[in-house]
C-alpha cells in the first residue's frame, strides 16, 4: 500500500497552496484557523470532491500513520537511549574520581577574579586533587547559602553582624583588600583632587556644576568647565556601593543621616548602570560624569580617577601600596569575634588611601555538620587551601589589582585557621 501524507496548510492563502500543488503535483487541502472556529473555510469541499473523482487540483489527502509518525517515535526512542547512556556514563565516570575533593563557594563578586585565579593555580598545584568552584552571586546570596550550609565557604564584602557570626559559628578570614576609586570623565582635565565632604555633596547633588567653588578650591591649577555633573552609580546592589556609601557616611554626617551606608542607596538624581563594567562603560561614554568603581576596572579600562584627601590631609591616589597602608594600622578582632565594626575607611596614615576595604571569606569554625556532610578530607582541603591563600596566594593579588594583606592581618588569619575544628579536633 502506498503511504499517503496529509498536507494541511493552516492559515495559508489559496495562491500559496496552488503553487505548492503545482510544484509537487500532489493534492492539497487547506484549513484556515482563527480563534473562534476550528475550520474556517471549507469552500473547497467541492474541489475536494473533485479530487476524489480524479480531478487534480487543490484538495486533499488523507490519513496518517505514515512515515512521519514512525520517524517521530523512532527519534524519541533514540533520544531516550542517548540520554540514558549519557547519564549512565556520568555516574560511572564520577565514581572513578573518588580521590579528588571539590569545594564550593559563593558570594561576593568583588574578589571573584582573584578567587578564580587562586582556584585555578591551586587545582594544578595539588595535582588536580582539590577543585574549588566559586559561584559568585553577590555577598547577600553567599551569606544566605552558607547559613543554609549549601556551600563550603562564602565570600562577602560586608562583615556579618555580631549576632550572626556568633549564632551561626562563622569565622571571618579577610583574604584580600580592594579599593573603590572615584572615576570621572572630564574632557581636558588630566588630574582631579577631591576630599570626602565635597564628594558627598556631589553625590547628594548639592554640588551640581564642575566649576563649583568647593571643587575649584581643591584644584587651584585647573580650569574647570561649567558643565553639569552627571553622577553615575551602581544600579544593582553591590559591595562596591556598600564601601563607597560607607566612606561618604564616615566623612559626611549629612550623607549618613539622609542616605546612609548600604548595598544599594536611594541616590538622588543619578544614572544607574549595572555592575562595575556597566558603570565604567557609562563613565567612559558620558562626558562630565563622575562615578565610583573598583580600582581594577579603572586601571584596565584606562579611566582617570581622582586623588582623595585622606585623614592625615594628604592627597592620595589609589594604588596597591596606599591600600595596604590603609589596612596596616588597624587592629582586628579574633577570627570568631565580632567583625561588624571593622572598617578601614578613612583610615589614619600619611599614605593611606581612604576608600579601601577588606573582603572576607566566611567558613564555619566547626566544619562538621549534619547538613553539609563535609568529610574530613574536604575539611582539611578547605583549611589548607585558605592557608595557602593567605600566604603564597597573596602574590597573585597584585597582578589583578588587589592589594596583598599586610603581615598583621596574615597573623590574625593564621590564628583563625589554627582554630578551625572537625568534630572537635583541630585540623591543622
Amino acid at each position: 500500500m502506498t503511504t499517503i501524507f496529509v498536507y494541511i496548510f493552516i492559515n495559508m492563502s489559496n495562491s500559496d497552496i496552488g503553487v505548492y500543488a503545482e510544484r509537487h503535483q500532489e493534492p492539497v487541502f487547506s484549513i484556515v484557523l482563527d480563534g473562534k472556529t476550528r475550520i474556517e473555510r471549507c469552500e473547497d469541499m467541492s474541489e475536494l470532491e473533485k479530487t476524489k473523482t480524479g480531478d487534480n487540483g487543490k484538495s486533499v489527502v488523507m490519513p496518517h500513520r505514515g512515515g512521519r509518525t514512525r520517524l517521530l517515535i523512532a527519534s524519541v526512542v533514540t533520544a531516550v537511549i542517548i540520554i540514558s547512556a549519557a547519564v549512565l556514563m556520568g555516574v560511572v565516570l564520577s565514581e572513578n574520581k573518588i580521590e579528588s575533593v571539590t569545594l564550593i563557594g559563593a558570594g561576593a563578586t568583588f574578589p571573584m577574579p582573584l578567587i578564580l585565579k587562586w582556584a585555578d593555580v591551586y587545582y594544578n598545584k595539588t595535582g588536580q586533587a582539590v577543585k574549588i568552584s566559586y559561584l559568585g552571586g553577590g555577598s547577600g546570596a553567599g551569606i544566605t547559602q552558607i547559613k543554609n550550609k549549601q556551600v563550603d565557604f562564602a565570600g562577602t564584602d560586608a562583615p556579618l553582624s555580631a549576632t550572626d557570626s556568633s549564632t551561626y559559628g562563622l569565622v571571618h578570614i579577610p583574604e584580600t583588600l580592594g579599593a573603590v576609586v572615584v572615576a570621572y570623565n572630564l574632557p581636558g582635565v588630566e588630574s582631579l583632587r577631591l576630599d570626602g565632604p565635597t564628594l558627598a555633596r556631589i553625590f547628594m547633588r548639592n554640588i551640581t556644576a564642575w566649576n563649583d567653588p568647593a571643587i575649584a578650591s581643591l584644584n587651584p591649577n585647573i580650569t574647570l568647565p561649567s558643565n553639569q555633573i552627571k553622577t553615575i552609580v551602581r544600579s544593582d546592589s553591590s559591595g562596591t556601593t556598600f564601601v563607597f556609601s560607607g566612606y561618604l557616611s564616615v566623612v559626611s554626617n549629612e550623607f549618613a543621616t539622609l542616605y546612609g551606608q548600604g548595598k544599594s542607596v536611594n541616590w538622588p538624581d543619578v544614572i544607574g548602570a549595572s555592575g562595575n563594567p556597566g558603570v565604567t562603560q557609562t563613565i567612559k561614554t558620558t562626558p562630565y560624569s563622575i562615578g565610583y568603581i573598583e580600582l581594577a576596572y579603572a586601571i584596565t579600562n584606562n579611566v582617570p580617577y581622582a586623588m582623595l584627601k585622606n585623614r592625615d590631609g594628604n592627597f592620595v591616589g589609589a594604588s596597591l601600596d596606599t591600600i595596604s597602608a590603609a589596612a596596616s594600622g588597624t587592629t582586628l578582632p579574633a577570627g570568631d569575634g565580632d567583625w561588624s565594626g571593622v572598617s578601614i575607611l578613612n583610615a589614619p596614615g600619611a599614605n593611606a588611601y581612604p576608600i579601601a576595604s577588606f573582603t572576607y571569606i566566611l567558613i564555619y569554625k566547626e566544619l562538621y555538620n549534619e547538613q553539609s556532610k563535609m568529610n574530613k578530607s574536604a575539611a582539611k582541603a578547605l583549611v589548607d587551601f585558605l592557608w595557602w591563600v593567605v600566604h603564597e596566594g597573596q602574590s597573585y593579588a597584585s597582578g589583578l589589582y588587589y592589594a596583598p594583606l599586610p603581615q598583621s592581618v596574615v597573623s590574625v588569619n593564621e590564628a583563625t585557621l589554627d582554630s578551625i575544628t572537625y568534630k572537635g579536633e583541630p585540623i591543622r
Binding site: M12, C42, G140, S237
Partner: protein, 320 residues
Amino acid sequence: MVTAKGSMLRKNTVRFGGDQLFEYSVMAIAALNLILVWFLAVIMFSDAWPSIDRFGIGFLVGADWDPNRDLYGALPFVFGTLVTTGIAMLIGVPLSIGIAIYLSELAPLRLKDPLSFIVELLAAVPSVIYGLWAMYALRPVMVDTVEPFFQSVLGWTPLFQGEPIGLDKFTAGVILAIMVIPTIASVSKEAMMAVPDSQREAALSIGATRYEVTRMAVLTYARSGIFGACILGMGRAIGETMAVAMTIGNANKISWSLLDPGQTMASLIANNWGEAEGIQLSALIEIGLVLFFIALLVNVFARAVIGRFMSRIPTTGGGL
C-alpha cells in the same frame, strides 16, 4: 467566516476512544495553564505578604525605594514601565503593521520568504544582545542625532527637557520598539495571510484599488489577529528586563521628561534581586505581583477598548 460546509465537516466527526483520550489529555494540558497562573499568584502573594502587610496601599503610591531605611514604593517603576511600553507601542505598532502588509500583500514571492524568515529570526534574538547593541550602537545615535532633533522640535513640551545622555526612558522605549517589531510583524503577517482571497477578490470586484483592498478587506478581516499580535508585543515590552536595565539609566524617580533616566518594574527586580534580603526581597516580589496585575489590567483594558472600537465598524465593507 463559518460556512455551513464547515459545520457539516464537524458534524461528521466520528468519536471513538482515541479521539476522546486525545481531547481529555490536551484539555488537561490546557488546564495546567490556569493552575500555573493560580499558583504563581498565590506564591507571589504569600512571599510578598510581609511587604504588603507593612506598607499596605502606600506601596503602590510610594515614590521612595530606599533599602537602607526599608522604605519601599512602587510608583516610579509603574510609571517607568507604562511610559517605556507606551513609547514602544507608539513606535512599534505602525512599523510592524507596515512590515506585515508588505510581506503579506505586496512582496514578490522571492523576497517574501527570506524577509519573513529574517523577521522571525529577529524575534528570537536574546534580549541581552539587543541591550548591548543599544548601549554601544543605538545610544550614540540617540545622543548625537535623535534626541537633539526631538529637543529642537518638541523642546517646549515637558517631555523633552534636560540634556540628552542616551540613558533614559526614550532610548529604552526605542529599543523596546525594535524588540517588539519582529513579534508583532510576524504574527500580524500570519493573520493577514489567513484572509481568504475571496475577500480580496470581492473588494477588487467593486473597483477597489490595492490600498483599498488592503484597508477594507485585509486589515478589517485580520484585525483580531493583528490586535492579538500587538498584545503579544506589549507583553514582551512590559516584561522586558535586560535590554531596559541596560538603557534606561536606572534612576528611581518620576520625571515627565523622556530624556531623564527612569526605572521599570522588571529592571528594578533584575537590578536588586541578587543581594536582596528580608523585607526588601518581599518588596521586590510585591513589585512582581504588581507587574503581574498591571500586565493583566492593560490586557483587559486594551481588549475592552478595542472590542468597543471594533463592534462599531461593520465586519465587511468598512475600513479599520
